[in-house]
């Protein structure tokens, strides 16, 4: 994979399979390194993108392996932004409550943690969902923040 430093942007298209998560993480890692982000920020971005893509695979495409996931990266000196697009079932981010781990424990719930992690690890998380067309999640982190 070559990083195009000139326009500081890149794109990866993969099918909605969990086996592609490692390729997605490597793709994000390459660009975050090129952007000069601190190591801790790179780890946080990689995990946030993994969580977003895992949610897409499990919930938008319901584990069907033929869905498409598009991951776009853009960065400048101030901000590193990852845009993730899918064409699966639309998702109402506002309806996902902040998890209460004690409650999850009692109710044997294991999902829902990913969204909380994404919001905790990134500086900004935005969802756009156009039912029947596409869903987009935009994850961004300031280059100099921790």
């Amino acid at each position: 994979m070559s990083v195009r430093n000139k326009n500081k942007a890149g794109e990866l298209r993969v099918k909605s399979k969990t086996e592609n998560l490692s390729e997605i993480r490597d793709f994000v890692s390459t660009y975050a390194l090129a952007a000069g982000m601190p190591a801790a920020s790179i780890d946080n971005i990689i995990l946030a993108v993994d969580e977003a893509c895992t949610n897409i695979i499990k919930h938008a495409y319901k584990l069907s392996p033929q869905g498409e996931i598009i991951i776009k990266i853009d960065y400048d000196e101030e901000k590193f932004t990852v845009t993730i697009i899918d064409y699966g079932k639309s998702f109402e981010a506002d309806r996902v409550p902040q998890p209460d781990l004690q409650k999850y424990y009692r109710e044997h719930r294991v999902g829902g943690l990913g969204m909380y992690l994404m919001k905790s690890l990134m500086d900004d998380v935005e969802y756009i969902s156009i039912p029947g067309e596409y869903n987009q999640v935009l994850l961004s982190k300031n280059i100099r923040s921790g």
Partner: protein, 116 residues
Amino acid sequence: MAEFSTSIKENGDIRIINLKGYLDAHTAPTLENNFTELINSNNFKIIVNFEDLAYISSAGLGVFMAYIENIRDNKGDIKLTNMSDKVFNIFDLLGFPLLYEIYKKEEEAIKKFSGS
């Protein structure tokens, strides 16, 4: 593809699962199988050693939540040890230290199982 593997060793009636590599939504079923096998063979005192674990996502953390109640109902526990700061931070962010015993070293968890 992400590399992940586990190995299990015995220490008296304690079973120790060593994790290695990348634990994500793709590799979590390997660890789920370990827990299922241990529970089916009535092994409820379980230590998970994270020393060689490079990465964990919420799908990996979910595995511990899925089995803990069954294990504690059988007078056992899952104790977690040898986490890197990076991995511990994710557990901490999600409040796991309130629900799980996390030790710096495997020996501490063995002592805790043996002593009490």
